[in-house]
Amino acid sequence: MALVLNDEQAMIREAADGFFASEAPVSELRRLRDAGDTTGFSRDLWKKMAEMGFAGVLVPEAHGGSGLGLVAANLIQEAVGRNLSLSPFLSTAVLGATALAGASEDQQAALLPKLAAGDLLLALASDEASRHSPHLIRTRAEAAGNGFRITGAKTFVLDGHVADRLIVAARTSGEDGDRDGITLFLVDPKSAGVAVKRTATVDSRNAADIRFDGVQVDGADVIGAVGEGAAILDRVLDAGRTCLAAEMVGVSAQSFSMTVGYLKEREQFGRKIGSFQALQHRAAQLYCEIELAKSATLKAAQALDAGDKDAPLYASLAKAKAGAVVRLATNEGVQMHGGIGMTDEFDIGFFMKRARAAETSFGDLSFHGDRLARMLGY
């Protein structure tokens, strides 16, 4: 497949760019933060995103979605990155919809249309450690009644505080770090025994710590096959990593563009600071890095859409590279803005905060470097 956007994708890109720039720019993030918002996004915006077909980007047309695939989701997420737009897109439209792709026809019919309509929020409750370790699942689901009883604790559940349904990874067999024996469950957070605690993060988003204390679920709430949830989970995570990579490309590109703009405008020692060669070379270096991250991200999305066997490799590649690049881009952005870059009044700091959160989510350079080396056989 050619590593370029096709016409349809180019149109989505344009639509997404326009939409988020006008409906959810950085000033909107600032407004929500300053208002002490605890939802983490505007529900109105989410409805509008559903109307645009964004909420259902990964939902098949048969279930009311636009079924455009991950390349399209990436373009939306990249625009989100450029504007730091707040929405449950990642938790619901990407992670949730990808998980439901492995669900039964009944489950899909019940949930996907609502998801695509913007009426159902999902959250993935899988991580149990503060450093991503996807198969380190200690939460147990023991057979009980006509289903299972879940006990354990999850951390950093993105949008877990507002989700209508949780997708919970629990262990039905095996040891703590095993890939086998993990099962995915759909859990209503209002069920008895579920305790959700909202946590606010540096990037003005929200996650949740969630405890499950003998929570009873039905056999019909299992997603996929019992004990074989890791295959779905890995796909969900790789979709999430790829979209985070796209978002980080957006964050990098936007903060780079703001910084280059500042270099052209700001004067010191009687010259535009953009004429200083040391800054020029650093900016040029950063330009190269962003180009590299772009290629990896597009490839990862294409590979996942195509069901390519190397898709996990490309997902790790994109997440690792985009994470390193977004850190460099936002750090350089703040440094080149100087003192004003450190003030809350300027936007560049918001980009740095989001960069770190995105870099941390679902595995950092260390995690994905290791995963990639293993996949490459060393």
Binding site: D127, A129, S130, R131, H132, T155, F156, K197, R198, T199, A200, T201, V202, D203, S204, A207, D209, R266, Q268, F269, F276, A278, L279, R327, N331, V334, Q335, G338, G339, G341, M342, T343, D344, E345, G349, F350, M352, K353, R356, A357, T360, S361, D364, L365, S366, F367, G369, D370
Partner: protein, 395 residues
């Protein structure tokens, strides 16, 4: 030669044991644990007040300053012994102060007798809290482009203008300030070094909110502020040399902060949080490699700080090293905070709410990003090294 020093050590140890309150031997955990002094000082507890009074009475808030102005009058060797003995019992510094770190050294070098007699004892005792008025809005690294002016009105200076990045200006009693007294002189000429009371009519401050959520800096406005003629330090129009002297001083002390031990290393923290493999090595391989490389630089920097101090003691000129120390120290502290954010993973992202410790980790990380901007940016330090130390040509 070692004997009198060992005697001094014995006396010092005994005095510290007797006089340093137990509460002052505990780690500094929050801002209120730091004593900044000043007219409106609010001591966190009696121990803090007592510790300041006792140390100030001996001049040990500033061990090496001359006794005639209230300083400790210690030799460099004695001061090192005092520092070692304080470190031994984990004694906190009794007083943190821009008066001690910055204004004092400048006054001792450039001030007249009356100015020293007036201001230094109050710095020693923490009675007046000072702030620094250097940077101006829009000037940035080009410090000398300052525009705040002080007009000669015969019996007083009339000050108009604005300063930015004045640390804790909203809590300071006095300011030491660079102003332009000769408007027609060239850029680096015509700058003077002025002291005045922040309670003077026409002075106002406005805190700046940072990305960390803290507001340690202010913008400060001067609207027809009248300053007595005798408050000018050094020669009129030659304030830039005082500023440069102070900046060098600030650079070394910023470097010094980062080099100091006493806190857990990033690797130690990682070991606690991430755990180890069967062979005792940190469980996360990439993190371990990054931490080891960070530790290599951190240890090299600590040894360099030690070497530079020893070179100074041996009478060698170390002036050319201050930009290096500032630059490397800043970069290392930033790298430490980046690593700690990686170690903490999603816990490091917490901002507020239960278990978030008010977002301490994230805030310390955000705070650290300013290290290579404040006190002369990384770019300025590298430029100084290139031009003044390596003597590379101008464009």
């Amino acid at each position: 030669m070692a004997e009198p020093l060992e005697e001094f050590r014995g006396e010092t140890r005994a005095w510290l044991e007797a006089n340093c309150p137990p509460e002052m031997r505990e780690r500094v955990l929050e801002e209120a644990d730091v004593c900044w002094g000043g007219r409106n000082v609010r001591f966190k507890n009696d121990a803090q007040r007592l510790w300041l009074e006792r140390m100030a009475a001996r001049g040990w808030t500033v061990p090496e300053w001359p006794k005639e102005y209230g300083g400790g009058g210690l030799s460099a060797e004695e001061a090192k012994v005092l520092a070692e003995e304080m470190r031994r019992i984990h004694a906190r510094p009794p007083l943190s102060s821009f008066g001690i770190w910055m204004l004092g050294p400048a006054l001792l070098k450039y001030g007249n007798e009356a100015q020293k007699k007036e201001h230094i004892p109050k710095i020693v005792r923490g009675e007046i809290r000072w702030c620094q008025g250097y940077s101006e809005p829009g000037a940035g690294s080009d410090l000398a482009s300052l525009k705040t002016k002080a007009e000669d009105k015969g019996d007083h200076w009339l000050v108009n203008g604005s300063k930015i990045w004045t640390s804790y200006a909203d809590q300071a009693d006095w300011i030491f300030c660079l102003v332009r007294t000769e408007p027609d002189a060239s850029k680096h000429e015509g700058i003077s070094f002025l002291l005045f009371d922040m309670a003077s009519e026409g002075v106002s401050t406005s805190p700046i909110k940072l990305i960390s959520g803290y507001s340690p800096f202010c913008q400060t406005f001067f609207d027809n502020v009248k300053v007595p003629k005798e408050n000018l330090v050094g020669t009129r129009g030659k304030g830039w040399s005082i500023a440069k002297y102070l900046l060098t001083h600030e650079r070394s002390s910023i470097g010094a902060d980062f080099g100091s031990g006493g806190r857990d290393t990033a690797a130690q923290i990682a070991k606690k949080r991430v755990g180890t493999r069967a062979d005792g090595a940190l469980a996360d391989e990439g993190l371990r490699v990054d931490l080891a490389r960070h530790d290599i630089d951190t240890l090299c920097f600590a040894l360099t700080m030690e070497r530079v101090k020893d070179e100074a003691k041996a009478g060698q000129d170390i002036g050319h090293l201050s930009s290096m120390l500032k630059h490397v120290g800043s970069e290392l502290n930033k790298s430490r905070q980046e690593l700690l954010m990686s170690v903490f993973g999603s816990d490091g992202l917490l901002w507020d709410g239960e278990g978030a410790h008010d977002g301490d980790m994230a805030k310390a990380w955000l705070r650290s990003r300013a290290n290579s901007i404040e006190g002369g940016t990384a770019e300025v330090q590298l430029g100084i090294i290139a031009k003044r130390v390596l003597a590379l040509p101008d464009a």
